[in-house]
Subunit: 170 residues, 3 copies
């Protein structure tokens, strides 16, 4: 079935700014290489289909992010993330700051924003599928999403992925 | 090799209530579509094989869960999770509350419990494989698990997955 | 293409000590079974290519790790991790202790260290590829990595994975 074009099937299950990058980077990269690509947005990843993406960086949920290690970072990977180690993950406003710094760093390094990467995916005809069950549970309606979004379930994903060259759960 | 039935190979590596859903939903969904399915439970996901599943929702480890954002949620995806934003992730008893609310929401929306989904997987003859190495490290014995559980290692998973249509690490 | 040797394509995206294990265990296991294996290190996983691995255990980012549940662990999976429940994730020095205890437990159980598993991967000729974009964003240079490391992008991974039997995003 995938004789002419290789096929990539992605599940995007996470909703923070940093973890929004991998599915959109892989999808746009593959589509640029003329692969047939679909992303199934489920769980915490579903809001990435919203008209306006509001993802942020969590100081709590990203274990390897040194910026959220106020109490020494000896045991941790040393990233050159430009955030002072003193910053506590309990300080109000920390998230906005971390998010803003991450966006600036990526911009300075010439990396596209999540919004831009998603636009690229749309242009390159990546299929963007929202998970029906997650919509029901969290109370989303199709109108909340960009108009290119389709709606489907686990069966939709599995049918698509069945003959994909690469399937990844992000 | 997979001419008649498509094949799904899953690794379940996470142990909180929310992250227990994806592997069981995908597995039961695929099995209902008559796929041949196996889940390899390893790492933090191993206890999902225990006779009684005791998974909870962590306020710490789920970055995109707005309920654990006591200090403003501007940068975050806005879920309609019915938990007041004021609730601090440091408040004792928060986990029980979050877990209980998540269970209620899922129930109200007609979503099966993790326990029910696992039962469904057993009925649909999904292979449930516990990771030997994780058992050794964490001190589990086969008796701790449901009787349908098999025991295996990375090689067991790889041999199964080698000709699977879809393999996912959750 | 993969007639003689099965092929495994891994993405290692996480940087804490615990989550460093799955890719190295799967990769060394597959290579020992004579599979052709590549790991693409990206995002928080990139520092796993550094000459000296300094990964630690995060008390924040591992939801199912009971040791970081100072406020009761009722809703949680009960691991036999030898860390007192009283320990607060906010206590300075907690990370070093958790990391040290994890290392000891693994050692006592005869599990190789991450460093040893990586050495094994090198010996078994697992391809170790660092993500160029992550290097640019975080300010890494090729000299920071072990000499066996290659550098590539999403296209490198996709080209490798296109005909892999199993692809996993860890």
């Amino acid at each position: 079935m995938s004789e002419s074009r290789p096929k990539l099937a992605l599940i995007a299950s996470q909703g923070t700014l940093d973890w929004a990058y991998p599915p959109f980077i892989l999808a746009s990269g593959a589509a640029a290489m003329d692969w047939d690509v679909a992303i199934f947005f489920t769980f915490y990843g579903l809001p990435l289909l919203k008209k306006e993406i509001k993802a942020g960086v969590s100081p709590l949920g990203n274990p390897a992010m040194p910026m959220k290690m106020p109490f020494g970072s000896k045991g941790f990977q040393n990233f050159n993330w430009p955030i002072p180690n003193l910053v506590s993950s309990n300080i109000p406003g920390f998230e906005s700051m971390a998010t803003s710094l991450m966006k600036k760093t990526f911009k300075n390094k010439g990396v596209a924003t999540v919004q831009e990467l998603r636009d690229m995916c749309v242009e390159l005809e990546v299929k963007l599928i929202g998970c029906q069950m997650t919509m029901d549970v969290f109370g989303f309606s199709k109108d909340d999403f960009i108009e290119e979004a389709e709606i489907g379930g686990a069966a939709t994903f599995l049918s698509y992925a069945a003959d994909a060259n690469v399937s990844l759960f992000v």
